[in-house]
Amino acid sequence: MASKFINITLKIWRQKNGTTKGGLETYGLNNVSTDSSFLEMLDQLNEQLINERKEPVAFDHDCREGICGSCSLYINGRAHGPDRGVTTCQLHMRTFKDGETIYVEPWRSRAFPVIKDLVVDRSAFDRIQQAGGFVSVNTSGRTIDANATPIPKADADKAFEAAACIGCGACVASCKNGSAMLFVGAKVSQYALLPQGKVEAQQRVLNMVRQMDEEGFGNCTNTGACEVECPKGISIENIARMNREYLKAIVTED
């Protein structure tokens, strides 16, 4: 496919830091290759801003191959833009029309405060993980091979699908309630399905849900927006599994 060049108008959220008020700024950007990714387009904009002696737009990015979950942008009213099953770095400018106005905003959540421009602090997810999103393993040297434990294929597959979560926060950003239940559901499920995770299952779900609530995320109302916008296609089946695990845990807790 021959590459094309388009001219676009960008409305980008600019905010100096967490304590100042932000607002949308309008920028014109010409000669954007339709083959470039959305992040490359922002690089191009930043070059233009630097040449104009202006402050470049701050945005999160790292691997640029859809695996790290850094590129958290709310584009034209949707997390990671209009395409499904992609992160922002996997979104290409061919998705947009010549002359189009594109809105770019940071994730909006009380638990994800804006640090600068489009960069938000997602350490709330880290704290949820620290509350129970792990398996305690003795690493003193006498470890046993994980493959020595037989696991049904179907369970392994489901655990793997849940573990595909990259913690990008698109679920929180898309949810009208700013709920983190798809993230926590995935993190609970990936262990709940495996024998290694069953040992700490009860405390894991209780601690992770408590931390999630403390961080100020909203409550799930099963709209299903999260699974639609999730770049890794994680199903809300994982939220149901977390709900089951939680019910089991609160009725059997000492």
Partner: protein, 310 residues
Amino acid sequence: MSKSALLSSSIAKKYWMAITGLFLCLFLVGHLLGNLQLILKTGEEGRRAFNEYAYFMSHNIVIKVMSYATYLSILFHAIDGIMLAVQNKKARPVAYAYNKPGANSSSASRNMAVLGSAIFIFIAIHMSNFWWKMKYSSDPMPLHLMTKDISVSMGQNPLTGQEMKNTITVTYALTTNGDYIEYSYIDPQTKKKMDIVEVKDHVKFYAKDKDVEIGEGYKDLHSLTVAFFGQDRSKEGVPANKNAGLAVTLYVLAMLVLSFHLWHGFASAFQSLGMNHPRYTPAIRAFGKVFSIVVPLLFAIIPILLFINK
């Protein structure tokens, strides 16, 4: 079991929403079956059947327990729902300048709190129109009288006060002239109307001056209801509601709102309770959609038919 987890955690709140919501779905089915009697049986037979059913519903102890469970469910569902909605609002203090929620979720699922609030207002109005009048209001309530056979054995004839030597059967044919205060006794032999009956406590018939209960009438909820939706029941003491058209319109609108609420709510309750399975979830979803259309539709048809057939 920690108390705080059971009441305040985000997931436990959803369990309560789901349990009370599903219980209210059961209530809807029961209520609907009762209401359908209004159109399935017509005439005097229908009136009698409905009023006997209403009497049963307000006097049976099992129903009483269920009714309190229903009141509690409505209140809990509403209060819990408001608490959830307030928390959810707080979770996003700065709104998106440009948002396209329609791309990933249904409008019903995003507006459960608004739909629920509208239903709550409807329930309050609905209960003041019928439940309050039936149970607590001191306003005159039309009574539905039926011929009552009362066997009187030895003792005193409650109507005449005469001593009776033998077992006799006296039939009291009680009729109403439309005014709830004036009930009269028609002697079965002579067919003469005799002014010897009075009404106490709205439903109890007493022989005048003798203080002897000779029968009990049914509160005429049937006439009250059909008159509310436009039919003239002046003969029974309730003239047609002048604003019946408005009443029918609002009722149908409320059922439309209920339909949207159930469209998302029914299957959502199962998800909240952790029931999501590739084999059963599609069936639950399908049943939920059918339920959300059929139940409100049948509810709405009743006042429409009553209004059309006035």
